[in-house]
């Protein structure tokens, strides 16, 4: 049949073939070329190229984050073409040439450009992006010369990569610059981010890259049913640790039951598969509707069980009343009776100035690209933990307590942390299990969550249902507000969403009530702006709707309602933007319709008053040591800049070592508190050291290199000074948390384009105004503010954890079905910082991580409303919902 083709007429065959070989993987090694060097590898059968490169050759630049070829962190070049090494059989390496990020040389134009344009935050995805961008840049320049590609060209090329931090603006800028040849030679410009080069070259080592000699691997065995008492548990002789709570009950599918360890990952998996668990099943509730129906099974049977429920709240969880699976309300208000009476009257009269609706938000998973991971080791010095954590100090303290160890016998390290977003805030399953297994095995043990575990039981922002009623009076003032929110945090409680409605839009009468509805599903954890993001989704849409009904410009309305002077400054800026001023008015027509929306955000100012930092002069350098970890927010950079400015030092005279526990307490990186806690402490330490260097003289120039050399061993410690007029919460010095005076603010203007035929929403442009005071390091601050926009877009449009209605199993437990925003989904973002208003705070600035994401989803929704005249009440705004809504 193949006759016409027998001669291969005009045959085109672009593949490269090696000499015919027959490989029996059981016995034969593979010859391959890695980063230009011929090498022989002997992978075990059916491993992936990623495993061979990382574990056998120690090339840990390429990471494995999804195992499905979706996220791109494992990208390497195979004969020059990018490939996902997690999907590449090791057999494919035979006779081929592989280039990893380590093989790009460190001074590749793309690596220079990524460092110079701050095209990263946590850095976990960076090696993959760099490798793909290097291949793209080469191809682009060969075909188009040294010209700038469009954003769409870059987005097409980098479509197979995800950055959970949302550093996409910097990536666009870096790739564009590399294509034009701007980084062919060393520009001599120092990167802003202190560890930028380490991250762009793959040298930055994360917890998942740590693998001591003789290290065992561990696997967590998780519950396969949503509610059961565990009877017999047979681990077949494997080294294991029981992870069940005291009542031997599992309350959600995916809850850890036991962890096992073995010398190799394959053996650990086999041991996990062999574990036999007897489930004595209990009735389960798997959705909030069923949970609230009288007679439904209860997640918690009695007060003791309820008392042990985990909390998704960042602060203290206030004790609440329970009724079956309903907990609450936590009720707050201002002239509550007046608020309710006015709303009821308006409802009776059919007052058009009353807007009442029910909004909902989906469960959002943190799913940082570096999964939860711990490498644990015991030796004569005690317990050594490498942990991917947002709080080295917190893990060290909790570990000492958990294992009854003296503080100096616990050593916690997190030099680079691949994202957290609130999900890595303490001693977790990965650490407890790894340490216990290491003790049992008498060997170091590494435990890394897979993506399924990460998306199932490693943190999420609880879903919500919010009933809001907002009333304007005849003069268009806010007359009354009522907000009831039911949190959907699985087995966890602590929803504080409606409560956020107390903190904005003046002192108008209002009643806010928070409830928890518990179900047999995985627990929530605090997630960047906890409570704030779902509140803004409802509240900021309600304000927008009142503006529509009053026929008033939504910014002008907020200028009347919002008493926060810092946000007033942002409104004035926003109102003057061409993006806002020149926006289209009136009904839009046609398939593609554009709209512009605005939303405001509010966030409390928290800090860690106990934060300290230590400076030591070593070998002519000022070395800063802090237990504080850099999870991508840039604290290493902030410290570096303060030291260089205060002490007038050159780059090579400063070194900042973050993420090692020690006697000097660091701060946790959550609650937007890292910089405002540690920045002022660093300034104090630098001034103290300067004074010591001058021998007590009040003033003098910068220390000479010789003087620094001579000052070997000189040491200074800085503490965070208290704010002028103190804090709202009266706290002792040793407290790790205080609520400061003033609220951070943000205003987002978002332009979207809606495809009314296929239901998609494309964010086009965004203005992000942030009022968090003085900016310590502008480039990383901007980067973080853009990341807030990106995560808010994910929340508004794509992200939704889905559980099986029959078993509670997380169905989209992979990055294909759980949709994170990619580089093509982000708008062009213009960040504006209003830096005044925080003069009472040492250093003049507070955190911006949370306030820069809280209002974003509502700005998207208001833009959609502006474009198509339909208001999305349910988040995410999926194509099916949009088409249904505008039909």
């Amino acid at each position: 049949m193949a006759e016409p083709y027998a001669g291969g007429v005009d045959s085109v065959n672009s593949s490269v073939y090696v000499d015919d070989v027959n490989i029996d993987l059981g016995s034969q090694a593979l010859d391959t070329t890695v980063n230009g060097e011929r090498t022989t590898v002997t992978p075990t059968p059916d491993t992936t190229a990623a495993e061979t490169l990382r574990d056998e050759l120690g090339l840990t630049g390429a990471k494995v984050a999804c195992g499905q070829g979706v996220c791109g962190t494992c990208t390497v070049l195979l004969d020059g073409a990018p490939a996902a090494s997690c999907l590449l059989p090791s057999t494919a390496l035979e006779g081929r040439s592989v280039t990893t990020v380590e093989g790009l040389g460190g001074d590749h134009p793309v690596q220079r450009a990524f460092a110079a344009h701050d095209a990263m935050q946590c850095g976990y995805c960076t090696p993959g992006f760099v490798v793909e961008a290097a291949a793209f840049t080469e191809r682009w320049r060969a075909e188009h010369g040294d010209t700038a590609p469009t954003r769409a060209d870059i987005a097409d090329a980098l479509a197979g990569h995800l950055c959970r931090c949302g550093a996409y603006e910097g990536i666009y800028a870096a790739v564009t610059a590399a294509c034009t040849g701007a980084f062919d030679t060393d520009t001599g410009v120092e990167p802003t981010r202190a560890e930028a080069v380490a991250k762009a070259t793959g040298r930055a080592r994360f917890t998942t890259d740590v693998r001591p000699d003789g290290c065992w691997e561990a696997v967590v065995v998780r519950a396969r049913v949503p509610h059961a008492v565990i009877g017999r548990l047979d681990t077949g002789g494997a080294v294991h640790v029981d992870l069940l709570p005291a009542d031997r009950t599992v309350r959600y599918t995916g809850q850890p039951v036991v962890a096992v360890a073995a010398p190799t990952l394959a053996a650990a998996r086999a041991a996990a598969d062999a574990v036999e668990i007897e489930y004595i099943e209990r009735d389960a509730v798997l959705d909030t509707g069923t949970a609230l129906r009288p007679g439904s099974p209860t997640v918690y049977a009695d007060a003791a069980e309820r008392g042990a429920a985990p909390s998704s709240s960042e602060g203290v969880t206030v004790p609440g009343r329970w009724d079956g699976n309903l907990r609450g309300p936590l009720s707050l208000g201002l002239r509550r009776g007046t608020a309710v009476r006015r709303i009821n009257d308006a409802h009776r009269k059919g007052d058009d100035r009353l807007f009442a609706a029910e909004f909902s938000t989906a469960v959002q998973a943190h799913t940082a690209l570096e999964p939860h991971a711990c490498v644990a080791r015991w030796d004569d010095d005690g317990l050594h933990l490498h942990v991917s954590t947002q709080t080295v100090t917190g893990v060290a303290k909790e570990a000492a307590k958990h294992w009854g160890l003296a503080p100096d016998r616990v050593h916690v390290s997190a030099h680079h942390v691949g994202g957290g977003f609130g999900a890595k805030a303490g001693l977790g399953t990965e650490t407890i299990a790894a340490a216990e297994l290491a003790r049992s095995a008498g060997a170091p043990v590494r435990l890394v969550f897979d993506r399924s575990a990460e998306l199932t039981d490693a943190g999420n922002r609880p879903g919500t249902r919010t009933r809001i009623a907002m009333l304007a009076d005849a003069e268009g003032r806010l007359s009354a507000l009522s907000i009831d929110t039911w949190g959907d945090g699985g087995v966890s409680v602590g929803s504080a969403v409606a409560a956020m409605g107390m903190l904005i839009y003046g002192r108008a009468p209002r009643r806010v009530r928070d409830y928890d509805v518990v179900t047999n599903r995985p627990p929530g954890r605090p997630f960047r702006g906890p409570g704030g993001a779902p509140m803004a989704w409802a509240l900021e849409q309600a304000v927008d709707e009142i503006a529509v009904r009053l026929g008033e410009d939504p910014i002008a309305l907020r200028q009347r309602w919002d008493g926060n002077p810092k946000r007033q400054a942002l409104y004035a800026q926003a109102a003057a933007l061409p993006l806002w001023r020149d926006r289209e008015r009136g009904p839009r027509t046609g398939r593609f319709r554009r709209g512009v929306g605005v939303a405001a955000a509010n966030w409390p100012y928290l800090l860690d008053p106990s934060a300290e930092i230590e400076l030591v002069v070593e070998d002519g350098q000022v070395v800063a040591r802090t237990a504080t970890q850099d999870i991508g927010t840039g604290i290493r950079t902030v410290i570096t800049r303060i030291l260089r400015a205060e002490l007038e030092l050159d780059a090579d005279q400063v070194r900042v070592d973050t993420g090692d526990s020690g006697p000097v307490p660091g701060t946790g990186s959550f609650g937007s508190r890292t910089t405002t806690s540690l920045g002022p402490a660093t300034t104090e330490a630098a001034r103290e050291l300067a004074s010591l260097l001058r021998g007590g003289a009040a003033s003098g120039g910068p220390p000479s290199r010789e003087a620094l050399k001579a000052a070997e061993g000189l040491r200074a410690t800085g503490q965070r000074k208290r704010d002028r007029r103190g804090f709202i919460t009266p706290v002792p010095r040793s407290s790790e948390i205080a609520l400061g005076r003033g609220m951070a603010g943000a205003v987002h203007i978002m332009e979207v384009e809606v495809d009314t035929l296929l239901g998609s929403v494309r964010p086009l442009r965004c203005w992000a105004g942030v009022a968090s005071g003085r900016i310590y390091a502008e480039v990383p601050a901007r980067n973080q503010a853009v990341g807030g926009v990106v995560q808010g877009i994910g929340y508004a449009l794509y992200e939704q954890r889905v559980t099986d209605p029959a078993t509670g199993t997380v169905l989209n437990d992979n990055l294909e079905d759980y949709r994170l925003p990619g580089i093509g989904d982000v708008p062009e973002v213009d960040v504006y910082f209003h830096e005044q208003g925080w003069e009472h705070v040492p250093g003049g600035g507070v955190g911006l991580g949370e306030v820069s994401t809280v209002g974003v989803s509502a700005s998207v929704a208001n833009a959609v409303r502006d474009a198509v005249g339909w208001r999305p009440l349910d988040l995410p705004i999926r194509p099916d919902r949009l088409l249904e809504g505008i039909r």
């Binding site: 193949a2 085109v12 059968p45 059916d46 070829g69 999907l87 169905l811 999926r878």
Partner: protein, 319 residues
């Protein structure tokens, strides 16, 4: 578990026959399932079977594309782009650059479905030896909108749609390594069989695809409806090609995916556009689509989405 790496078709067929298990080409589906604990091998790795690769042109002007030609090779081939624009448009739109670089035509046609129950080791279904469909009673928002079979997972192959609109044929080698007569590409699939995503028997090997002689001046369009802009499995996808003679449209071919157990050619839509259609006729031609759908409880939204997606490709291909 063993992996065999044959160098010719006969060896590959023998390995599949003797070892069972699965053939593996680029590995983008097989390895993803292996990493998730859903494919245990043994694998017959096709990377070194030269005869399965490449793109060749026949005496009649039609192309033969080898089963292990990569999607990237197809997407970037200028001769294919000129001859079969619907094929090129489809190849360029699917997956991501890393997947296209190693993923193959044969792998795309024979990949397993994307149902999140099938791909979760916690569940069992028709597709993995079980006898039920947890998706049917569960959350099947990504399922079929033509509920005609026990399994509700749409077929995931985009390239199959492009082959359908060209009435392409496939060549299959039997367990003895000998190729049998070409058969229509659509015959690779059987909607009634809920146990697998293609009909090839164990030991059979897809070796290549035959395309008919090209139609000069053809225009084509591909679209996938997704939430995000890129790198997402389609809710619905469609491809259309329009053949003209002396400037007049003589034939319209259109197919849709993400909607049924098999890739679907839309004969009724084509019939409605048989008489020299203009772009403005497309809306009428697709108006009946939602009414023909037989959605599951959770896929009603796909009916309107399918109408929109097909309309999009027809309007662009007819323009």
């Amino acid at each position: 578990m063993t992996t065999t790496i044959p160098t010719d078709i006969a060896e590959a067929a023998a390995a599949l026959r003797e070892n069972g298990g699965e053939a593996r080409a680029g590995g983008t589906d097989v390895m993803a399932r292996a990493n998730a604990g859903l494919a245990a091998g043994p694998f017959t790795d096709l990377a070194r079977v030269r005869a399965l690769g490449g793109i060749a042109w026949g005496a009649d002007g039609g192309a033969r594309i080898g089963a292990t030609a990569t999607i990237a090779e197809i997407a970037s081939d200028p001769l294919l782009a000129a001859a079969y624009p619907a094929l090129t448009a489809t190849a360029r739109a699917l997956a991501t650059p890393q997947v296209r670089a190693v993923g193959t035509l044969g792998g795309n046609l024979l990949q397993r479905n994307r149902c999140w129950y099938f791909r979760n080791p916690a569940f069992s279904c028709h597709q993995d030896g079980g006898d039920g469909c947890p998706a049917r009673a569960g959350d099947h928002r990504n399922g079929t909108v033509f509920d005609t079979a026990p399994c509700v997972a749409p077929h995931p192959s985009s390239m199959a749609l492009a082959l359908l609109v060209y009435d392409a044929e496939v060549v299959v080698a039997g367990a003895d390594g000998a190729e049998s007569a070409p058969r229509p590409a659509r015959d690779l699939y059987d909607a009634a069989d809920p146990t697998r995503d293609h009909v090839l028997a164990p030991g059979e090997l897809l070796t290549g695809v035959l395309l008919p002689p090209p139609s000069p001046g053809e225009t084509a369009a591909y679209r996938r409806a997704t939430a995000r802009s890129r790198a997402e499995w389609p809710l619905v996808e469609a491809v259309a090609r329009v053949v003209r003679e002396d400037g007049a449209v003589t034939r319209v071919a259109v197919a849709a995916g993400g909607v049924a157990r098999t890739p679907m050619r839309l004969a009724a839509v084509e019939d409605a556009l048989s008489d020299g259609p203009a772009p403005s006729d497309a809306a009428d031609a697709v108006a009946g689509i939602p009414g023909q759908c037989t959605p599951l409880p959770g896929t009603a939204h796909k009916a309107e989405l399918m109408r929109g997606t097909v309309l999009d490709v027809l309007e662009r291909a007819l323009a």
